[in-house]
Structure formats: structure tokens, C-alpha cells
Symmetry: C2
Subunit: 731 residues, 2 copies
């Protein structure tokens, strides 16, 4: 053991880390995680005055209220951080239940053995130099995990800063924590070391307290999903926030996300890597696959995870939901002292899907009695600068709007004082008046300031004294937070009846006789789909011109003749498709043409497929592809320019139900076409959704054998829905 523990907070990585043993399933039980986060006595292994990490850690434990013993272990013994240290782990008193390990990688395995020998079951490993630095490091990380499993240890990290259990005032965390550490209802899990401090600072500036903050490090053993599950069950946590580079346990994540939803705890996730560059960078930093960002979006949508795209929205959305809980609806009443704020709020509400209904007549009458004559009584309400004459104006208006039956949520533009005046009495009285008025309301009241500026120490003092509600910083971010909170609330209501499907709950595997790696083209694929309940256009595979004509007679003119060749996926590209054939002569000629074309292309020609010609309708493309992280993913889109130029498709991870497919269809930019825009027959959306679900269910039951499946087009004419062509590739 040397004294200086050098480590970076995040470093390079190699793809080897992606094959770490933690990729599937959890290595630790919820009880182990709970023990890790709730120690009674802590030992700092590798403590030294020469390390800023050790100094900060020691200071944190002493400043922020940890009331158990803190022991220091240094191989030279002597005085460290002003206290007598222990030379070895074996010298420590009994009862230590967490070790914070800051030793070089060379001795890490030995140290862990010693911890186990001394019955210290949990450890935070700050040391870096593992999976994130290449193959050698990854090997050591495997050894560490193997040892931990064998000896029953629970490890957080390596290459992580530790955690801050603010609820219990336990702060084994290797970076400086600025006072005051605010306790509160927001749990924070970060796949980043440096950003943990930024999040802590921002939460403090917003006067939002945290329950537990965890800096994950490499997740060799305890993962983001494990920490998230702890927070779902933690009574001190009301909202969970996640900063995510990659999700290593997708199936577990879905299960825990569903648990959170059922527990009524919103999950607010800031997932990076959505751009090409960002994805590359995240992969380099974490060493794991980050997945297709559009699939992540689909997953979050299906599981009610609130996605944000900045740290500010992450914390403010969480702070809001922790305070209000589920919100009853999206109809907002605004009460402000500023016309400009009203206009910004109106624009931003539209962005965020919030409605600003007209006030009810009784509300208008009531407000007219409150606001000055020259004010316009409308929603959003500007009570005018007359508040300089009557400071109670805002809260009087608030009380009136609270009685409006058409409003679900009230947004009050108000802020806390910034600088302490010579006589602060008025500041306290004003804030108390507003806070009391808000508490007297029946509806949820969301308070926002005009711009995102700190709640200053004086503002926090006032807020604490009068129990002022949380103030969302800035109209822009306030309505981002409110919009997300409202959508989550709506999702939670809609899905209370079990609409969230997790993969484990649904798998009924089926067998299929397909050669691995093979591709089934039109006829074979269509027959398979038809056999499994998917509506497919009638068709016959024929191997001669005479048979083609006979089939055409049976199916009825006009017909389509298509080349049948297993190794040609896009037969229309080579002239292998003939449409609108109206008599035997044309069919005969078409058969000869398409098969000749196939032979000229050196294809494995089986003959031709004959189908009745369908009239025009809406062409959908339905596909199943395999995401490396999330498994089978459904894609639905409209044909033509929609998919070719606009890439207008919607994704959903499997399994899906009708409601989820309907959501997906309605989210298409060309959705108006399904409603009969441009003169086409209005599609029977339920019928379309049922067909898509039948395709998705089939794909899901095929499990890992299916590589991809594409139906192009799925033709929709009113309530008639038919697959006209299909392609299946087996793994």
C-alpha cells in the first residue's frame, strides 16, 4: 500500500469493458445495496494528508453530520488528518461496515481480502485503473468482482467518488461537498464523477434537497439499476434522477422503471450520447454500448421515464414533482405581475403541451373585483405593476383563480428576495403572505421566477423560515419542468391499469424451422406470417407460365407477378415485379420476363408469386429490428417520401399492446394521412394497430432467433389491412 492514491474521475476505456460480467442481471441483492448505503462505522483505507481525495472525504464525514466512528488506515501508521491511524485493516476495531478504498491497483486484491477477513462487507473503491484503461485493467476488474462474489463483498466503483446519503448524513464522498448539504426528497444517480459536484451545487442554488447521491464509477458490481432500485424502495426519496451514459442491464432497468412507476416515484433521466459524436464519446468513457438513441427515447416513453436534456431541467423537474406529486391535468392558470412574463409563458406553454384555457365567468367577475380597472382580466393574468401600491394583489388574484373549475394547476410568478435588507421584516412578511396563500389553495400551485438565478443564502433563510414552496428558476425552465411533470402524471394515470409491459412478463417462446442466418423472401415469409395470424394478401407460388395463368384465374384479375428468388431481397429494383396484369397473355409474358430477369441476375429462381392486384391505399412499413442493447424493436412508418426522405418512423421496444401501437402511429409526422388527408380513405386505426400487434407478438415469441422482419408495404384501405410483401432474416 502506498500513500498516494492517484486516480482520475473518468478516463479512457476499451470495448473489453463491455464484456464485463455485469452486463446481465444484478450481482447484488437489494439488502446488500441497502447495507452499502447505510453504514454505522467507516474506515478510510489509504488515508493520507497528501491526497485531496482523502482530505475531502475526511472533512465531509466530519462536517456533514456522520455520527459513527471514522477510522483511518495508513501502512505507515502515525497521525493522519490530525488523528491516530491504524497500520493495517486487521488492527481496526470490530463493527466497521464500510471501507472507502483509495489504494493503488497493485494492492487492491490484497486489500479486499483483508476487508473480508475483518468482516467488512461493503466498500467504495475510488481507485481507478480498471476497465476504463484497457484490457489489463478489465482483467483486474474481473478478478476484483470474482473475489467480491467469493467473499460476499459489495463494491461500489471502482473509479467512482462514492456517495452522499444526505437523508442519513452519511457522506463517504471523495470530492469537497460545499455546505450546506441540503436534505430532501430527490435521489440522484450519476454515471459521472465530476458532474456530481455540479448537480450538488445546482440543487443547493435551487434550494432542492437530496436524499442520496451516488457517483457510480465503473459499475463493476453495483450498477445504476441497483442504485435506482434502492431509491425506489427508499422512504426518504420521492423522485429519482439519473445521469446516464449507458444502461448496462436493460431488462433489469425496465423492471425497476416499472417498479418506480407503480410506487408513484417519477424517474427523471438525462441520457447523453444522443448525437453521433456524443455516442462515440460516451462509448469511449464507459466502454459500453450506448444503443440507438431513438430506441432509448422509445423505451423511456413506454416506461414513463421523463427524459430531460440538461442538468438544470433534471433537477428542477425532480424538485417540482417531489413537491407536487402527480398533477391533475394540463390546464394551467397563470397569475403574474408582468405582461411580458405572460407572453413568454403563453409561448412556452404551447411548446410544452400545456393549455391556457379562458377563465370561467365567475373567475373573471371575481378577478375584476381584485385587480385594478385598467388590468385586462384574462388567462394568463397580469395583475399589473399595481402590486407596488397593493402588495397583496397577487395572492388575492391567486385565491380567485383557485376556485376556477376549468384549471388544473396554477403557476404563480413570484420569487424570493436576494439580498438581506437592513430591515428584513418586510421580506419575511411578504414571503409568509405568499406562502400562506399558496397553502390555502386547493389546486397545486407552481411558483416560478422570471429568470434562472440562484436562491441566495438570504432567500433560502426566508424560504426555510416561512416554508416557502420551491421556486422554479426562469420561465423557460419552469415550463419545461411543468410540461414534463404533467405528461408523467398523465402517463401514470393511463398506465395504472397495467399498460406497461416488461419483457419477462410476456415471453411465450415458439419454435420455427429456419436455418440460422437464412433469409425468407416473399412467399415463404408471407406464408409464415399468414400461418401465425397476420393478414397477408392471397398468393400462389408457381413454377411455370401455365401455372401462373391458372393461379391468376383463381385469384381474379388484375394480378401482380413477382419474381420468387430467395437471394433477391429487392426484386423491384431489377425489374422483377409486374403490376396490373389483366389477362392470361399478360400474365404469361410477365412470368417469362421476371424469371428471365432473375436468371440473368444469377439468382436462385424458384418461379414467381402471383397475387391479386390491390387498389391504392395507405402504405405502411412495419419492421422489427434487433437493437444491441434493447433487443427486438418495432418500427412503424409511412411509405414513400415519409420514410425515404423524412425518416418518419416511430419505434417501440417489444412487447407492445394496441395502445402503444396507436401512440406510435399517431406520433408520425404524416399521421394526418391515416385520417384521410389527401383524399385517401380514412384508416381504421384499431384494425391497423391490431395487425401491427400481431406482427410484434410473433416477433417477440421468436426471441433471439429473429434477426429482422420487414413488411413493406402493409396496405391499409379503411379497415382492410394486408401485408403485400415480407422479408424475414434469421440469426
Amino acid at each position: 500500500m502506498t500513500e498516494l492514491s492517484e486516480r482520475p474521475t473518468t478516463t479512457a476505456a476499451t470495448i473489453e469493458a463491455a464484456t464485463s460480467p455485469t452486463l446481465h442481471g444484478s450481482l447484488v441483492t437489494p439488502e446488500q445495496v441497502s447495507t452499502l448505503f447505510n453504514p454505522k462505522a467507516i474506515a478510510l483505507i489509504g488515508a493520507t494528508d497528501k491526497s485531496n481525495w482523502s482530505l475531502s472525504l475526511f472533512a465531509n464525514l466530519h462536517t456533514h453530520g456522520f455520527d459513527g466512528p471514522v477510522y483511518l488506515v495508513n501502512p505507515r501508521g502515525g497521525v493522519v488528518h490530525g488523528e491516530q491511524s491504524y497500520a493495517t485493516i486487521g488492527d481496526l476495531p470490530d463493527g466497521v461496515d464500510l471501507a472507502f478504498v483509495m489504494v493503488p491497483t497493485t494492492v487492491i486484491l490484497d486489500i479486499l481480502e483483508q476487508l473480508a477477513d475483518h468482516d467488512i462487507k461493503s466498500a467504495v473503491i475510488l481507485t481507478s485503473g480498471f476497465g476504463e484503461v484497457g484490457a489489463e485493467g478489465a482483467k483486474l476488474e474481473h478478478q476484483v468482482v470474482d473475489l467480491a462474489k467469493r467473499r460476499g463483498l459489495t463494491l461500489l466503483g471502482p473509479n467512482g467518488n462514492g456517495y452522499i446519503n444526505a437523508a442519513k448524513q452519511i457522506t463517504p464522498y471523495g470530492l469537497n461537498i460545499n455546505a450546506p448539504l441540503l436534505r430532501g426528497p430527490v435521489g440522484v444517480v450519476l454515471q459521472s464523477g465530476a458532474l456530481a459536484s455540479a448537480v450538488l451545487g445546482f440543487s443547493q442554488a435551487r434550494n432542492i434537497g437530496i436524499s442520496l447521491l451516488v457517483s457510480m464509477g465503473n459499475e463493476a458490481m453495483v450498477t445504476l439499476t441497483d442504485a435506482m432500485r434502492y431509491l425506489v424502495r427508499d422512504p426518504d426519496t420521492k423522485v429519482i434522477t439519473l445521469f446516464i451514459e449507458s444502461i448496462r442491464q436493460p431488462e433489469e432497468f425496465l423492471v425497476v422503471a416499472k417498479e418506480a412507476l407503480e410506487a408513484g416515484k417519477p424517474v427523471v433521466a438525462f441520457k447523453v450520447g444522443r448525437s453521433q459524436k456524443g455516442s462515440t464519446v460516451a462509448k469511449a468513457h464507459t466502454g459500453s454500448l450506448v444503443g440507438d438513441d431513438r430506441v432509448i427515447d422509445a423505451v423511456f416513453k413506454q416506461y414513463g421515464v421523463i427524459r430531460v436534456d440538461c442538468l438544470e431541467d433534471m433537477i428542477m423537474t425532480a424538485g417540482l414533482l417531489a413537491e407536487t406529486g402527480p398533477l391533475p391535468g394540463n390546464r394551467v392558470g397563470f397569475v403574474t405581475p408582468s405582461g411580458g412574463a405572460c407572453e413568454i409563458a403563453a409561448d412556452r406553454s404551447e411548446d410544452e403541451g400545456l393549455e391556457i384555457p379562458d377563465f370561467a365567468p365567475a373567475t373573471v367577475e371575481g378577478l375584476k373585483r381584485v385587480v385594478p380597472d385598467f388590468a385586462t382580466v384574462q388567462n394568463p393574468l397580469d395583475v399589473t405593476g399595481y402590486i407596488l401600491v397593493n402588495p397583496a394583489l397577487l395572492r388575492e388574484a391567486l385565491a380567485v383563480v383557485d376556485k376556477d373549475p376549468g384549471i388544473d394547476v396554477i403557476v404563480l410568478a413570484s420569487d424570493l428576495a436576494r439580498e438581506e435588507p437592513a430591515d428584513p421584516t418586510r421580506a419575511y412578511d411578504m414571503a409568509r403572505g405568499t406562502a400562506d396563500a399558496i397553502r390555502a389553495c386547493e389546486k397545486p400551485v407552481v411558483v416560478m421566477g422570471n429568470t434562472l438565478v440562484d436562491i441566495t443564502p438570504f432567500g433560502r433563510k426566508v424560504a426555510d423560515e416561512v416554508s416557502f414552496p420551491g421556486v422554479l428558476g426562469g420561465i423557460h425552465h419552469a415550463l419545461a419542468a411543468l410540461g414534463r411533470a404533467v405528461r408523467w402524471s398523465e402517463f401514470q394515470r393511463q398506465h395504472a391499469a397495467g399498460r406497461v409491459m416488461v419483457p419477462q412478463a410476456h415471453a411465450q417462446a415458439m419454435t420455427v424451422d429456419a436455418t440460422p442466418g437464412s433469409t425468407w423472401t416473399e412467399h415463404q415469409a408471407s406464408a409464415f406470417l399468414a400461418d401465425n395470424g397476420v393478414p397477408v394478401v392471397p398468393q400462389e407460388l408457381v413454377d411455370s407460365a401455365d401455372a401462373a395463368v391458372a393461379a391468376a384465374e383463381r385469384l381474379g384479375y388484375p394480378v401482380v407477378v413477382k419474381l420468387a428468388a430467395a437471394d433477391i431481397a429487392h426484386k423491384s429494383d431489377i425489374g422483377g415485379v409486374r403490376l396490373g396484369l389483366t389477362d392470361a397473355e399478360q400474365v404469361r409474358e410477365a412470368f417469362e420476363t421476371v424469371t428471365t430477369v432473375g436468371r440473368n441476375a444469377e439468382a436462385d429462381v424458384q418461379g414467381a408469386v402471383i397475387q391479386p392486384m390491390r387498389g391504392s391505399g395507405i402504405e405502411l412499413i412495419v419492421g422489427i429490428v434487433r437493437d444491441p442493447v434493447w433487443g427486438p424493436v418495432l418500427a412503424v412508418g409511412l411509405g414513400g417520401v415519409w420514410v425515404e426522405i423524412l425518416r418518419d418512423s416511430a419505434l417501440r421496444v417489444l412487447p407492445v399492446d394496441r395502445g402503444q401501437v396507436l401512440d406510435a402511429l399517431r406520433s408520425l409526422r404524416g399521421a394526418a394521412l391515416l385520417d384521410g388527408a389527401r383524399g385517401t380513405e380514412k384508416a381504421d386505426l384499431d384494425a391497423v394497430a391490431d395487425t401491427v400487434v400481431s406482427i410484434a407478438d410473433l416477433a417477440f415469441r421468436l426471441e433471439e432467433r429473429l434477426e429482422s422482419l420487414e413488411i413493406n408495404p402493409l396496405l391499409v384501405r379503411g379497415s382492410q389491412v394486408e401485408a403485400l410483401d415480407a422479408l424475414i432474416t434469421w440469426r
Copy 2:
């Protein structure tokens, strides 16, 4: 004159205000505006201890450094704000050059006469109760303006809070100004009273100083455009920010926007009213038309006005540009101590059109010598948490990246200390080291913090002491600001050669013999376009089946036959168009059919138009419509689903040149079609743009006589561009 001056900061309005005499052109000269903003002696008319406005105003003038005399006028005389007041304006000493008027509306005209009598030429009118409260108020506002014009007065307001000339420490402003008032390069013009304080507070929290801040009020005389023009010419102002509800002088605005561009002063505008509700609210608050938001967007794009959508971005974008000036390009090098910050930055850069190129080999080599072995050397660069061991790491890396020839701008993740430690020496030294390293760079260096938290009073002290550059608050907003700054810089470079066209510079009116209110359909409109240099498909108007056949023979088969009837705009809807006719018989039959259809529809049938049938190509729609605020606006879009479902069109105000039309075409979501996606022939964009310019120029020269013009379709086949149908409506 009574003692209590009651007023709101913003109030209700009626449409009457929209007809105020200030709608067109400026009522004041630049010299008058300059005099208004630079007084040497100020009188407060209606000063009283009972008014918060009067108290704040008096305190502001005394606290923030105004060194001229401040006189108080109160009809009862006596002591006001602790000083002896004057009973009448006539009693005031000579030399007063600004009056701040807080008297009731009932005496306003009398007071203004008295000011003029006493040779006080400028006044801020805080009093409300004018155009914003209805017809009576609007009438009084007209009288006030008439009086001012007659007596040579310059008025700011009414219903405004005044202004803060921070550069000159002149603060006739009716709301409390929190100390310290930071002087700096950002000019602020706001069509809002209450938000002025929010902007002031936020600027202070970002340590961004202002030159002049003006709260416009009703703009009865001095308008937003006048204030903007002052800032363009003000040597203390480097960047102009505008909070806009409505632009009352569109033509003047364009001229001043162009002046700003030529002066190298960016204009950053936060224009509200972009949503339906927001537009309604803005109209109610200002009483003036807000115009179509998509047209505003086009105007801003064409004149290089930077549009932002929140107050935070407004101030930070301005602060950034004031510090860096034009930026050389969009290739960004990131130097950070955090992997998480790198990932967020990568995602946000893609949003904002910023490139993150790979570092040059020499940079990579240089960085490898600086950062620890376990760091990944890439752009964006994470120097790792090893900065805790080597605090100089960040600036050493900065110096290396500064030498990379492929990087235009460096973004450094760094922040100022928040709380003053017991020994602040280290904080000062760290900041000084970073500031020196930034100053030593050849490239512009943009500093950003991880989240948007205040620069605290201690942080400001440190920044001032070591001349630390501005810190953009939060990665999200920092890259919003940088993206806009880069785009503005690029626009300024591209347009240095006179590409910005203002309406006045271009008008060459032409005459046309058209009945006002009439509509010209196909043949008449097409002939008019062809006569004026617009390529139109050949065609003949015929009045008999024989003439139709003769025309078809001349034009060559296949042909199109279309009903000619002045009162039928959409003839295909009633079956008045027959396509692809290949012989005389078909033409004869088609002529009879379409004219019969026309007669059955009781149309004024003139016969039929015969055109040669064109093959398939790309169909564009080109239209000119009249915006109530901005006049003639060009709209270009692709036909079919693009315009019908996606409303995919691009707007530009006239006049336009080829470059602007090319920008518009490239901005279409379906632009890939023009490049030959989906197998159509690639369009000759220059030829398309030239045709569109010829249409736009014609429309522009028609001035106010033109109501609308639509070419649908403009068919594009390679370099062949032809109008196939047209419709012109005259006012």
C-alpha cells in the same frame, strides 16, 4: 396635480392603439434621442414620499452615481425625499434637460406645456392610462404626441419605467435597481416594464454589464427602433438586445438592423407571440399587430438578427458576443475536466451546428505529454480528475489546443469560486492562472460552467481582480449562445458584400392595368408573367373545339386542356382539367367537357387553355402573400404532401436575391428531392432560384397593388423551370 401617481407597468390595451401616429417612420431625430438619454439635470415631476416609484427613482439617481442636480416638483411644495421641493415647474432653475413625469393623466397636457415653456425638451412619462386602456386613452395619447411635436418635446413612454444609462451613470428609472449596477457593453431595449428588472438581475448574476437599458412603455413617440438606432451609434454599446412584443415600424426596423450589421454590432432579439395564445396576449398588451411569427423568423434570418427564446439566452448570447466579437468559424475544441461534460457538449454541439473535429496529430502528441496516461486524448477533451493532483492541467491542455490549425474556437469548462474561503489566496491564484492562460491564447476561448448558477459576489470579486473572462452559465445555455454567435459571425462575413437588401433600396415601381380587387386566372396571369420574364409553359386560349385542335397541333401532342374561367380558381376540383391528350379527337372531346363543366358551375367561361403536356418533374409552389406588418412575403415549397400535410415552406420578405432564395430552398425539409432523391432528375438550383427571384422582383415592383400571386406548380426538370399554372389577385 395630485400627489399619488398610480400606474401599472403593463396593462390592457385596445386595437385603437394600433392606429397611433407612430406606426410608420420615426417621430424623433437621433439627436433628440441622444439628448433624451444624456441629460445633465433632472426634475422629478409629481415627486412624493407616498409613491414607491418616486422613492425608487430618487434613490436610483442618488445611489448609482448621477452627478447632476436632481430637482423635485410637488404642487404642495415642502420637503419631499428629505429635500426642499419646488411647487411649480416654472420655479425650477434653468438647465434642467429631462423631466420624469409621474402626474395623473388629467393634468398631463398642462404639465407638458409647462415643460416646454420652461425649455425642458425631454421627458419620461411613467403615468399610465393612455393607448393601453382604450379609445379615450388613445385619444389623449394622440393629443400628447401632437403637443410634443408642436412644442419640440421628446417623450419616452407613457406607461414606461424610464431608462438606465449605466455607461453614464444616469438612472431615471422608476423601479428599484439592486446594487451593484454593472456597467458594460450590452444595450437592452424592452417592450416590458416588469421584465426589465428581471433582465437587470440576471445580467448582474452573470457579471455582464449594461450600457443602456430602456423600458419602452407605449412608444407614443420614441420607439424600440429609435432606441435601437441610438445603441447602434452608441460607442459604449457592443451588442444590442431586444425584448419584443411587436415591431411598430417594420421598414425602419430593417434599416436599423442593417446599420447594426454594418457596424458589426449583433442584435439579439427575444420576440414573443410565436404561439397562438402568445400572439393574442401580446396583441392585448401592446394593442398592435404582432404579425405572422414565421415571417418574423424570416425577417430575422435575412437581416442577421439573432433570435433567442428565453431571457437567459438573450443576455448570455449578448455577453458572449460583446466579449469575443465575430468568431472565425464553427470548429470547436473542448477542454474540460469531466467526461460527462464532454458528452453533454457533444450532443449540444450537434444541436447547434457546431463541429467537433478530431485534433491534429501534433495536438494529440502535445496533449499526450500533458495529460495523464490513463486519459483518452480526443476532442472533446477530458483532462480527467487528475486536476486534483495537478491544478495546472487544464491550462496546459488549453495552450496545446490553441495551436491546433483545425480549431476555430476553444470552449473551456471552468467556473469561478462561489464562497469566499478562510484563505482566498488559492482561489485568486487559480483564477489568475486560468485568466492568464486564456489571454495567452491566439484563438477565442469561451468559458462555461457546468450548470447555470450565479456568479456570486465573491466570484465577481475574483473575476474583477484577475480580469477573468465572462463565464457562460451551464453547458446547455453556453452552447446555445456559442451556436448563435457562430452563425451570426458567418452571416456577417457572407453579407459583408451587400447581400442584405432593405426595401427602400430596391423599389422600382411598375404600372399594370388591373382592376382593383380582381383575380387573374391561368391564361391572363401566365401571359403577364411571361411578358415580365418569368418562364411559363407555352399555351393558347381558345374558344372553340376547332381552335383547340389547331392549338394542340401547333404546340405538339400530348397536350393538356384546361377550363378558362376567371371566376374559377381551382378548376381541377370541378373536373375542369384534362391531361395527356394524344390526338385531335381527345382534344375536341376534352374542350367540350371542360367548358360544359364550367357552364354547369355557372362560371364565366372564356373557353379553354391548351398547353403541351409536360413529363414528370419536381413540383414547387411559389407564392407571394401580403403580411399585415411586413408587406409582400415570398413562400416557396414543394408540392404534394410536403405542403399539404407538412406545411413545408420557407418564407422570405421581399426583396430577395438568388442567395436568399437558395437558402430558402435548402431549408426545406424535402430539399433532398431537389438533389435527385427518389430517382427524379437533380434540379438546377441556380436556375430555380433565378426564376423565383424573377417572380419575387416582379411582385416587389407591383408594390401595394398586388394582393397575392401563386404559381402552382412551378415544374422543375433539371435546368428546365416553367410555371404551369398561375393565379394573381389584385388589391
